[in-house]
C-alpha cells in the first residue's frame, strides 16, 4: 500500500440538536479518546523536536557539570560545517545512497518481475526471497561478518575462484572496499521490501496492455520499457525516495562492522551525530547535526509528496 494523504474532509455525523449535557458528555468522550495520544505525541515527539533546535544553540552536555550551560549562537553550526569529518560523513552518506539505491532497486525489480511472471514453485521462491526481511538486522550483520573474513572467508574464496590473483581483499579493513561491502550487505538485507512494493505495482498493470503490445509487434524489451517501467512510474518515485531516506539513516551496519572506519570511510551522518552526542556527550553540538540531518530527510520526503500526484 502506498501512503497517501487522507481525504481532506472527514465524514461528520449529522447533528440532531443535542442537549447541553449531551454536548458536554460528547466533549468529554472525545477528549478522553484523543488526550492520551495528543499528550504522548507532544511530550515524546514535538517537544524533543523543538528541543533539538534549541539545544543546537547551546553548549549543553549529556552529564551534568559544575559550570553553567551557555548560549553559543551559531557556533555549533559553524563548527559542524567547518569540520572535515562532517563533510566526510556527508559524502559517505550520499555515496552509500548512490550505490545502494540502484543496486537494491534492480535486485528488487528483477525479483518482482520473476515472481510476477510464469514461474514454477512461485510461492516457494517468494517465501525464500522474503527471508532476509524476517532476519533481524544484527543477525544479518553477524552472518556477513563471517563471510567478509580474511584471508579465507567465503567472499575471498569466491573471488579467487573467479580468478582473483592478489591474495585477499580486506573487505571491511580497506578504505576502498569497506563502503561497497556495506552496500552489498545492506542491499541483501532489505531488497525484499522494495520487491513486495514492485510486486504490488506490477499486479496493478492490466495484462491487456501487454497483449495489445504483443499484437502490435512490440518485443520483450519494448514491453518492459514502455509498459512495465511506465506503469510503475509512481511506484518508482515512492521506492526511490523511501529507499534513499532509509539509506541516509545508515548506522547499525557501520557501527558494528567498521566503527566508521577505516579512515572514516564508512562514517555516516547518523554515526557522526551519535559519536558526538552520545560517546563524546556534546549534546549541543550533536543537536546541530540532528537539525541538519532533519532538513536533509525532510527535503527528500517533501520531494516525494511533490512528485506523486494526489488522487
Amino acid at each position: 500500500m502506498i501512503q497517501r494523504p487522507p481525504p481532506e474532509a472527514s465524514p461528520t455525523p449529522p447533528r440532531t440538536a443535542p442537549s447541553h449535557s449531551g454536548r458536554l458528555s460528547a466533549f468529554l468522550h472525545e477528549t478522553a479518546l484523543i488526550a492520551p495520544a495528543a499528550i504522548l505525541l507532544i511530550v515524546f515527539l514535538i517537544l524533543p523536536f523543538f528541543m533539538a533546535g534549541y539545544l543546537s544553540f547551546t553548549n549543553e552536555r549529556l552529564v551534568p557539570r559544575p559550570i553553567p550551560t551557555r548560549f553559543v549562537g551559531f557556533d555549533n553550526y559553524t563548527r559542524v560545517l567547518g569540520d572535515p569529518d562532517f563533510w566526510q560523513a556527508f559524502r559517505n552518506t550520499f555515496y552509500f545512497a548512490l550505490l545502494v539505491v540502484p543496486l537494491q532497486l534492480s535486485m528488487s525489480l528483477g525479483a518482482a518481475m520473476l515472481l510476477n511472471g510464469r514461474l514454477r514453485f512461485r510461492s516457494f521462491f517468494r517465501s525464500v526471497a522474503l527471508l532476509p526481511l524476517v532476519t533481524p538486522i544484527t543477525v544479518i550483520i553477524v552472518i556477513w561478518a563471517a563471510m567478509f573474513q580474511i584471508p579465507d572467508g567465503l567472499l575471498n574464496n569466491l573471488i579467487r575462484l573467479f580468478g582473483y590473483q592478489g591474495g585477499f581483499v580486506n573487505w571491511l579493513g580497506d578504505a576502498r572496499w569497506a563502503m561497497p561491502s556495506i552496500v552489498l550487505l545492506s542491499a541483501w538485507a532489505t531488497f525484499p521490501f522494495q520487491m513486495l512494493i514492485y510486486l504490488a505495482g506490477l499486479q496493478g498493470i492490466p495484462i491487456e496492455r501487454y497483449e495489445a503490445a504483443r499484437i502490435d509487434g512490440a518485443n520483450t524489451w519494448a514491453q518492459f520499457r514502455y509498459i512495465t517501467l511506465t506503469g510503475l512510474r509512481n511506484v518508482h518515485v515512492f521506492v526511490i525516495i523511501t529507499t534513499t531516506i532509509q539509506a541516509f539513516k545508515l548506522f547499525v551496519q557501520v557501527d558494528l562492522l567498521t566503527r566508521g572506519g577505516p579512515l572514516g570511510s564508512t562514517n555516516t551522518l547518523v554515526r557522526y551525530m551519535v559519536q558526538e552526542g552520545y560517546s563524546a556527550q556534546r549534546i549541543g553540538y550533536a543537536s546541530a547535526i540532528a537539525v541538519i540531518f532533519f532538513l536533509l530527510v525532510a527535503t527528500f520526503a517533501l520531494l516525494q509528496r511533490a512528485l506523486i500526484p494526489n488522487d
Binding site: 552529564v63 557539570r65 559544575p66 567478509f148 580474511i150 580486506n170 573487505w171 579512515l263 563524546a280
Partner: protein, 425 residues
C-alpha cells in the same frame, strides 16, 4: 594502625545495625577473561569474612562497564562500589560523581601503595584520593622464541639493553621473511577504546612529545609537535609494510595460530600467552623508540565510591578488603599485573624474589609515564585514539594529530578550561 581499622569496622557495624537497612552492597567490576577468577573468589572471601558482621557484597561483572557507568551517572542509579578506568577519574570527580576514599581507608594501606597508584588516583585540586587500583600495568613486547632465533634476532632481557628503533625495524623485516610468519607483530589493533591511547602514547613520550602539555593543558604544540609527527611516522611505516596484524584478523594471531611473531600488549595477556606458547614465550622490554629513550604506559582499572552511593562505609570496607596484601597479591598472580602494594609484591609468586615478573616491575619502576590526570582525559583519549587508528590505516600523520589537538583544545575551551584546572598554569 590495626586498632584504627578495628575501630572503624566496629563503628561501621554499629551504623549498619542502627540503620537497620539492607547490609548488602553491590560492586560493579570489569569482566575480563583474566580477571574473572579473581572477582569470583574476592566475593566469596569478603562474604565469608564479614558474615558475622552482617555485611555482604554482590560482585557484578559487566562486559562493557564504561557504558554502564555512563548510564549510571545519567540516571543516578549506581552501586556502592564501582570500578573505573584510572585516567577517567578526574573527569568523574570534576562532574561531582565520586566520593573521596581517604576517610574509608586505613593509613597502613595508603602508606604502602606504589607511587604510580597514588598519582593516578589523586585529584590535584583537593589532593584527595578518589580511585584506587589493585594493580599497576605495563606494556611490553611478547616474543615467540623459536621465530626470533630462526630469524637470528637478539633477545634483550632488561630495560637497559632494549632494542633501539633501528634494531626493532630490522628484526621485523627479518621476521617478515619467515614462512610461518604472516605479520611480524601484533599490536592489538582489534582492541577498541582506551587501548589506542594507552598502548600507543608511549611512542610519543619516548620521543619527547606527549598527549597534552601538562603545565598549560594545551594539546596544540605538543600533540602535533614535529617530534610527535616523526615518531608516529616511524610507527606508521610498519603498518604500511604490512608488518602489523590488521584489526580484522582478530585476537589470536600471536598465541593461537602463531602467524604473528611478536605482540605489543599488556600484562593481562600473560596467562593466554603462556598457555599458547609455553616455553617459547619470551618477554622483551619496550623499545628505545627515539635514540636512547623509551616509555611504557601504566595504571589501570580502579575501585571508587560513587557520590550517590548508600552505605559508603560498607563500600569502604569492601575496598579495604579487596586492597589487602593477600588480595592484591592474588590479583597479580591471577591476572599477571604488577601488585599495587609493596607488601603484596613480596607475597606474589610472579613478582616476588625470583619471579618471572621482574621485567614488568622494572618497567613500571623506571620508564612508566602516567596518563594525564585532567578532566578532559576522556576527550584526549578518544581524540588521540582516533588519530592513532587513522594513522595506522595510512592517514597523513601531521593532519591526524593536528585534528586531535584541535578537538582536545576545543573541548577544554567549551568547558571554560575545566575550572579550577584553568588556573594551574
Amino acid at each position: 594502625m590495626a586498632s584504627i581499622v578495628r575501630f572503624t569496622l566496629s563503628t561501621l557495624l554499629l551504623l549498619a545495625l542502627a540503620s537497620g537497612a539492607a547490609q548488602q552492597i553491590t560492586a560493579w567490576v570489569i569482566d575480563g577473561e583474566s580477571e574473572r577468577p579473581f572477582f569470583v573468589q574476592v566475593e566469596e572471601a569478603f562474604n565469608a569474612a564479614y558474615a558475622d558482621d552482617g555485611f555482604s557484597v554482590n560482585v557484578v561483572r559487566l562486559p562493557s562497564i564504561n557504558d554502564a557507568l555512563q548510564a549510571g551517572f545519567l540516571s543516578g542509579d549506581l552501586p556502592g562500589v564501582i570500578m573505573l578506568d584510572g585516567p577517567n577519574m578526574a573527569s568523574y570527580v570534576w562532574s561531582g560523581q565520586l566520593a573521596p576514599l581517604d576517610p574509608y581507608l586505613s593509613d597502613e594501606l595508603l602508606a604502602g601503595l606504589l607511587p604510580a597508584i597514588i598519582d593516578q588516583g589523586t585529584y590535584s585540586p583537593d589532593g584527595n584520593l578518589y580511585a584506587i587500583s589493585p594493580y599497576d600495568s605495563s606494556v611490553l613486547l611478547w616474543g615467540n622464541r623459536s621465530y626470533l632465533e630462526q630469524a637470528g634476532v637478539r633477545i634483550p632481557t632488561s630495560v637497559a639493553d632494549a632494542w633501539t628503533f633501528e634494531e626493532m625495524d630490522a628484526a621485523l623485516a627479518a621476521l617478515a621473511e619467515l614462512p610461518e610468519v604472516t605479520w611480524p607483530v601484533d599490536m592489538k589493533l582489534n582492541y577498541t577504546g582506551e587501548w589506542y591511547s594507552y598502548g600507543f602514547s608511549p611512542f610519543l613520550q619516548a620521543c619527547g612529545a606527549d598527549l597534552i602539555d601538562r603545565e598549560t593543558w594545551q594539546a596544540s604544540g605538543t600533540l602535533d609537535s614535529p617530534a610527535a609527527i616523526e615518531s608516529l611516522e616511524r610507527l606508521q611505516s610498519w603498518a604500511t609494510n604490512d608488518w602489523i596484524v590488521p584489526a580484522a584478523a582478530g585476537d589470536n594471531r600471536f598465541f593461537g595460530d602463531k602467524t604473528a611473531a611478536l605482540a605489543w600488549v599488556g600484562n593481562w595477556m600473560w596467562r593466554v600467552h603462556q598457555e599458547g606458547l609455553g616455553d617459547d614465550l619470551v618477554l622483551i622490554p619496550a623499545p628505545k623508540f627515539c635514540g636512547d629513550d623509551q616509555a611504557s604506559p601504566n595504571g589501570g582499572w580502579s575501585y571508587a565510591i560513587p557520590a550517590v552511593a548508600e552505605h559508603k562505609e560498607i563500600a569502604g570496607a569492601f575496598i579495604e578488603f579487596a586492597m589487602s596484601t593477600e588480595q592484591v597479591a592474588l590479583y597479580a598472580d591471577i591476572t599477571g599485573y604488577v601488585p599495587a602494594r609493596h607488601s603484596a609484591i613480596e607475597l606474589s609468586a610472579l613478582y616476588g624474589a625470583g619471579g618471572q615478573g621482574a621485567l614488568m616491575a622494572e618497567q613500571s619502576a623506571t620508564i612508566a609515564v602516567v596518563r594525564p590526570v585532567h578532566p578532559a582525559y576522556p576527550v584526549i583519549s578518544s581524540a588521540f585514539g582516533r588519530a592513532m587508528n587513522d594513522i595506522l590505516e595510512g592517514a597523513d600523520v601531521a593532519t591526524a594529530l593536528a585534528r586531535a589537538a584541535r578537538v582536545i583544545d576545543e573541548d577544554i575551551a567549551d568547558n571554560d578550561g575545566y575550572p579550577p584546572f584553568d588556573t594551574t598554569r
